[in-house]
């Protein structure tokens, strides 16, 4: 039997993903340890697991280097890959929003040149160009995006918000909601066909497990 390969996102999704796979009887305990091995194998079920940077998971899955993957919806939107998004796992829930100083509330349309600081240039562009029909200048940052409007680098930001505390403490407010974000199970388009039985078993197993919770 061929190995099925699963790509998991390194970081806050790792532990939750591992729990889920263990709950349906796949062995990926080693991932939790401090092992330096890059690929771990469940020989009994012929499944391989590896951890990758979240933004790389959709790439591995699209190219078929992994058959399945677990990754946040934010990354999926940003990467815009061709793959099947089969299950909302529900965990790591947060929101993708446009945020800025309170005085911009309801006045987003009146700005002429909008500079948007974000870690998600594609999501920002698609939102402003397709939904609001506005041209924007995207300023790509790699972290602490909330800083940008405070120091005059941009008018607004597009970022993930969980509790909204960081925004509040920095005097920013949510100006518009772009999308609800949570972890998703994704499948390569060809694997879904060529290994449909095994993949569907995993998908159904996870779905049942999620319903129990």
């Amino acid at each position: 039997m061929r190995y099925l390969t699963v790509a998991l996102s390194k970081g806050r999704l790792t532990e939750l993903s591992v729990e889920l796979f263990e709950a349906i009887g796949l062995d990926c305990t080693e991932l939790k340890g401090s092992s330096r091995k890059l690929i771990l194998t469940d020989e009994k079920n012929k499944v391989k697991f590896f951890l990758a940077k979240p933004s790389d998971v959709p790439t591995y899955v699209e190219y078929g280097a992994a058959d399945l993957g677990i990754v946040g919806k934010d990354t999926l939107l940003e990467e815009g890959r061709h793959l099947y998004e089969v299950l909302n796992l529900g965990f790591a829930a947060c929101r993708m929003v446009v945020a800025g100083p309170a005085e911009l509330q309801g006045k987003l349309d009146q700005l002429n040149n909008i500079r948007v600081a974000t870690k998600y240039p594609r999501i920002a562009r698609e939102y402003f160009e397709l939904k609001r029909r506005e041209s924007i200048e995207v300023i790509k940052l790699n972290g602490s995006v909330e800083l940008a409007p405070l120091v005059g680098l941009s008018e607004v930001i597009v970022d993930l918000v969980e509790s909204g505390r960081t925004l509040k403490e920095n005097g920013l407010v949510v100006l518009d909601h772009i999308a609800d974000i949570s972890a998703r199970l994704v499948v390569n388009r060809v694997s879904m066909k060529m290994e449909s039985e095994r993949i569907n078993n995993i998908v159904d197993g996870i779905r049942k497990e999620l319903e129990k919770r």
Binding site: E62, V190, K193
Partner: protein, 418 residues
Amino acid sequence: MTKWKIYTPEGVQDILVNECFVKRNLEDKIRKVFRSSGFYEVETPIVEFYDAFLAEDGITAQETMFKFFDQQGRILVLRPEITIPIARLAATKFKDVNHPLRFCYIGNAFNYKELGGGKQKEFTQAGVELLGVNSPEADAEIIATAIKAVKACGLENFQIDIGQVDFFKGLMEETGLSAEETEQMRVLIDRKDYLAVEELVKTHNIREDLKELVLSLPRLFGSLDVIDRVEKYSLNEKSINALENLRKVLKILDDYKLSKYVSIDLGMVQSLNYYTGIIFRGFTYGVGFPILSGGRYDNLVEKFGKNSPATGFSLGINMIMMALERQKIETEKPSIDSLICYKEEGRKTAFEVCQALRNQGLVIEMDVTGNGIDELKQYARMKGIGGIINILDDQKIEIHNIEENQISTVTMDELLRR
């Protein structure tokens, strides 16, 4: 100013000896399959006017085409695919022909796409187009040709998924969704995003049974019972006809004895404006992308001035090569049977022997270095040449068997009679 001269641009590649040999072999095999089914090969230019590929519902996005200008300032493109050129050719060069047209092609196409997984900006496509007929027999013939071509390449484990875009179009008409919402739905179903499909369905006032059917769309793939399951719903004429058409095509493929390669996917909904009926894709192990795709496109040729239904497919030769490699399927390697070397007194004899052996179908390399036999042996070993024929004169020819390290001496007559 010559900083880049030793590089090739990203996304294009040199194809070296072994790979090139495999590629030509595959192309020959595919060409044979196409010809044996009565498809005539045509060649269209690599450069075309941008206008030909420009359509609001085009299958190739503007930004993915290689563009430049001619001397009159008109926009030219490197062809991003070969179906549209064939449609142009059929509508203009064969505009008064009423019988079915069967064309095939093997050629390179260009696309600014992201690299990886075997995808390059320059790639080779092989395909057939059958124009002038709209019948299930024509669709089945195209699918059968696709299957035969993949098999001829040496792949045995692959699957062709067949859908019918009119089923989805009819279903959307019945639900009363707007064109924009239909497009939204199409994208979600194409992505098999079950959850988002559910949300979209919930927000609309759609008949309960249809809601259920739309929700099941991303899962509607598998064997014939998919159609049985769907036929229980009350559908409009368009959808019913689509299912009927799909059934007919599958029945014909069954008579071709090709059922084992075929499976159904009613959730296959890519390029709704381009395709008008049967649509299919081929998959195999080891590559993350389809190796072939095709379907019926009855409205395309019309854009070039002739009303003509059409169906066809194209296959990515680079994808096939990647699949063969990943599936560890043995492919032939180029080889040289013998190396001939000589001293001046033996030159005439050498040329005679060489020609005679080549006429027998052997691959013979003539030594042009004049190196000594020991050096030549080393060279032969490195290159995997089976033997060296050292011609001293017409009565004395040494044959060095490289593998077994043996030498025998023969005359020219003896050598050629072997």
